[in-house]
């Protein structure tokens, strides 16, 4: 076709249907990235028209184009510097006047504009009729009415985009009459005119108005491009002051005021007002939804439903997906080299560790999918701003924001959330300081992966008060999050930008299935792409730290002798047994593997038929081994069976000892030992240290590592019993300190990466990992050493700490925000 690629930008105020338009025209070819250097999401997609490729960018939704907010700056820079072939201004037809305020600013920037009057269905329902031809005449730009959710007007929209992309820009662009400001503008424009790069690259009228408004970015453009910037800026400043003293009004206020005035004129000319103004449905709904008594009840209901559907039902769903992942694991296992009697090939243990780590994360995908879908529903329906409206006062007292509500709920405000989607959903918080405070404190809430350790400890050390202890650990986190958030906003986050709360309460909409599913898939995909690779790398590092340097040669020799003793004993016992010839040499190991597989298969089998099928399969695979495994009335086989069982469990015991010794010797073990003198004040011995260090990739492994460290003395002993036996000196005070440390445990790798994405800086990611460790050590030390000093029992210390946290939270709440 020879022509350059067409670039279309979608601009518009929030909730006008921009994303819906974007989805409607780009179909499945979408891509999310960030604008360079900032954390604002950039959605791009493309479609074909007349055989030529058209690229589409969904700009962030903004009410205006000032330089006060990041989103507005991003949109503005894009329009100025990327020079889109067409800008589609998506506007809410049922609220034309408000929307024109932005349209004027776009027209002033002299971008090739198509005004998409969306939500025509809503306008019609409210009895608003718009004279499109008149509006086109008034604005001097193409206007296309659509109801894009129903697909109405899509064809015309595409046609208009195409037409505008081919046409020349109008020589007489639309101009707002700024009244008394005009003479000032003319003077500034005179000063500007003909000045090199500035004049050539930026729309003069726009630049003039922006300078008169005192816009920072416009000033920066002048400094960069003008031949004598300071002189010009001084002139502008003089004019600004002159206007203000003459009219008792700031020029920027006057500009905004005139825009509304002109918008009013234009709407009056092109709009047939509704017959009678009736109360909109959404406001009627809000009488209940935001009601003083009913509102909070509904809010709790919604939060409960969110929790129930994603965490409870999503968790149930993992019952179906987990077997798939387990199959993946056993498939991997089957192609790996077999284990030896006491030594495991490195490639085998590494690969399995790797698969286990990845599986632990993939297992969350059903939960994430439901969660992301529900978030999309909350976002699209318009309920989210209502949540913020209801809880803003509470959160604002602690330096947070009404819109911190959803992230807090997702992070596990009671118990059992996940910090990954929670941090992701902080994106919408407009106040930067509050957003950072939310992102940094969310990981201190109780995510699902912290729960197993709580349960383990409570079952051992708080047997008589299980419910109470669980309530304590579930609610204490919020009492730590709130004061910490407040402290952060007054210290490290002090310099972050804040912005006014003012928030639109958009009308309620029924979300579309496509929008919801699309968003859920997109976010799950983002999770997989960004997270899995890094988790894989960290998993390998931790594996190395846990495995190396490994056993010394003497110890290896020792275990080898042990193995020989066991096997020699076995062979002596079965001398003369007719089956003995089948378990010589390599065959012994073959039997071990066969036995293992058979036992596992039997354990997994449900029902008689399945068990029978398994028997058949294993009989076919090796009839002699099967005879040994299921001797029935065969005396010789029975004898061998008994002798072999001894070998089998002796081997298991040896393997466990080796594993324990390896961890003990490992780099991580050494670090754990080295830390003991310091962590003992918090009540942590080296074993706890190792399990905490190993949890870094994923907290799920804390309990698994402890499981490896406490020896099983008898077959089938639970970890609870083992830990109790293994840690004779452990008291409930130890357990409480450990639980609180786990609550304050630094974010997992997946969350850390999200923190990096949402804050845009590695610095903040590192900070988000270090400050909870420091805080955690402090709290654990306070509990353990302080508790010991005062002679408190675990339960007393629990009450004391709860009281302290509550008092601090209330105190902090009274402290004024800066």
């Amino acid at each position: 076709m020879g022509r350059e690629k067409t670039l279309v930008a979608l601009a518009g105020q929030p909730n006008t249907g921009k994303s819906t338009v974007f989805n409607a025209i780009t179909g499945a070819s979408q891509h999310v990235a960030n604008y360079p250097g900032v954390t604002v999401e950039k959605m791009t997609g493309s479609y074909r028209y007349d055989g030529a490729k058209v690229e589409v960018v969904d700009l962030p939704g903004t009410y205006s184009l000032t330089s006060y907010s990041l989103e507005e700056r991003v949109s503005r820079d894009f329009l100025l510097h990327e020079e889109p072939s067409v800008v589609v201004n998506v506007a809410d037809a049922s609220n034309l006047k408000r929307n024109l305020y932005l349209t004027f600013q776009l027209l002033e920037m002299q971008v090739p504009l198509v005004l998409d009057l969306n939500m025509m269905d809503v306008a019609k329902r409210r009895g608003i009729e718009i004279d499109v031809k008149e509006l086109e005449k008034q604005l001097g730009t193409t206007v296309v009415p659509t109801a894009i959710r129903n697909g109405t007007g899509k064809k015309e929209l595409l046609k208009s985009i195409h037409a505008v992309s081919l046409s020349e820009r109008p020589s007489e662009p639309f101009r707002i009459d700024y009244g008394p400001l005009e003479s000032f503008l003319t003077e500034i424009e005179g000063e500007l005119s003909g000045n090199g790069a500035l004049w050539a690259n930026y729309p003069p009228r726009w630049l003039t108005v922006k300078l008169m408004e005192g816009d920072d970015e416009a000033r920066r453009l002048v400094r960069k491009n003008h031949s004598n910037p300071e002189l010009l800026l001084a002139f502008v400043e003089k004019k600004r002051q002159a206007f203000e003293s003459e009219h008792a009004e700031k020029p920027e206020r006057h500009v905004a005021f005139r825009r509304y005035h002109v918008a009013d004129d234009i709407t009056k000319a092109s709009l047939k007002p509704k017959a009678a103004s009736s109360q909109p449905l959404s406001d009627k709904a809000d009488q209940f939804i935001c009601n003083r008594f009913l509102g909070p009840l509904i809010l709790v209901g919604v939060i409960y439903l969110l929790y129930y559907l994603s965490i409870v039902q999503g968790y149930n769903l993992t019952n179906y997906t987990w077997p798939l992942l387990a199959k993946l694991r056993s498939l991997t296992e089957s192609i790996l080299p077999n284990p030896g009697f006491i030594e495991e090939p490195l490639i085998r243990s590494l690969t399995l560790w790797f698969v286990d780590s990845i599986n632990a994360l993939l297992n969350y995908i059903p939960i994430f999918f439901i969660l992301f879908g529900l978030i999309a529903i909350l976002e699209d329906s318009g309920y989210m701003p209502r949540m913020a409206f209801m809880l803003d006062r509470l959160f604002n007292k602690f330096g947070l924001h009404g819109q911190s509500t959803l992230p807090m709920v997702l992070g596990g405000i009671y118990v059992g959330g996940c910090a990954v989607p929670a941090v992701m959903s902080c994106k919408g918080i407009p106040d930067e300081r509050a957003r950072f405070a939310t992102i940094l404190t969310i990981p201190m809430l109780n995510c699902l992966a912290k729960v197993p350790l709580y349960v383990l400890l409570i079952n051992i050390y708080f047997v008589g008060h299980k419910g109470l202890a669980m309530f304590f650990i579930s609610t204490i986190t919020l009492l730590m999050v709130l004061p910490v958030a407040k402290i952060l906003t007054r210290t490290v986050l002090k310099k972050k930008e804040t912005s006014p709360f003012i928030m639109e309460m958009p009308p309620y909409h029924v979300p579309t299935i496509r929008g919801v599913l699309g968003r859920a898939t997109e976010r799950v995909w983002l999770f997989i792409r960004k997270i899995i690779t890094i988790v894989a790398v960290i998993a390998i590092i931790i594996f190395v730290l846990l495995q190396f340097p490994g056993l010394s040669n003497e110890r290896k020799a020792y275990y080898s002798t042990q193995k020989d003793l066991v096997t020699a004993n076995f062979y002596k016992k079965i001398e003369g047994n007719p089956y003995a010839e089948h378990v010589q040499g390599k065959n012994l190991m073959a039997l071990v593997i066969y036995w293992d597989k058979y036992k596992n298969a039997k354990m997994m089998a449900k029902g008689k038929d399945a068990a029978k099928a398994i028997n058949e399969r294993f009989k076919e695979e090796n009839p002699i081994f099967f005879k040994i495994a299921q001797p029935k009335k065969d005396k010789d086989a029975k004898k061998l069976n008994r002798a072999f069982k001894k070998v089998f469990s002796a081997r298991k015991k040896l393997l466990r000892e080796i594993k324990k010794e390896k961890i003990d010797n490992s780099f991580l073990g050494q670090i754990g030992h080295a830390m003991e003198p310091y962590t003992k004040w918090a009540g942590f011995n080296w074993r706890i240290n190792v399990s905490l260090l190993a949890s870094f990739a994923a907290k799920e492994s804390s309990v698994a590592t402890l499981g490896a460290l406490y020896e099983q003395e008898e077959e089938g002993e639970s970890l609870e019993t083992r830990m109790e036996k293994g840690e004779k000196g452990f008291t409930p005070l130890h357990a409480l300190a450990l639980m609180l440390f786990m609550a304050l445990y630094p974010p997992c790798i997946a969350t850390s990466i999200m923190v990096k994405i949402q804050t845009g800086k590695i610095r903040w990611m590192v900070f988000s990992m270090i400050f909870p460790i420091v805080l955690g050590i402090m709290v654990a030390t306070l509990i353990f050493s302080g508790g010991n000093l005062l002679g408190l029992s675990g339960l007393q210390a629990m009450f004391a700490f709860y009281g302290l946290a509550l008092a601090i939270t209330i105190g902090m709440g009274f402290l004024k925000n800066e």
Partner: protein
């Protein structure tokens, strides 16, 4: 009289924005400007923020921000 003192249900005319810089700009950008008639619809369950209705659109504003909007009955 300032906007934050109004009770739900009352209607008023915006006289002047006394807010500086960002807050003032934001109020204007979101549609609060001198000469506008608006209604206070309700307060949040915890009293703050308040919800306003202006020409068919609904805004929520904290009282500490509404302080900077001068109104008359």
């Amino acid at each position: 009289m300032t906007l934050d003192t109004l009770k739900p249900g009352s209607t008023c005319l915006v006289k002047k924005l006394t807010a500086e810089d960002q807050l003032g700009q934001r109020l204007m950008d979101m549609g609060v400007y001198p000469g506008l008639r608006l209604t206070v619809v309700r307060n949040a369950p915890l009293e703050d923020p308040m919800e306003l209705e202006l020409g068919g659109a609904y805004l929520s504003v904290r009282h500490e921000e509404a302080k900077f909007v001068e109104v008359e009955g």
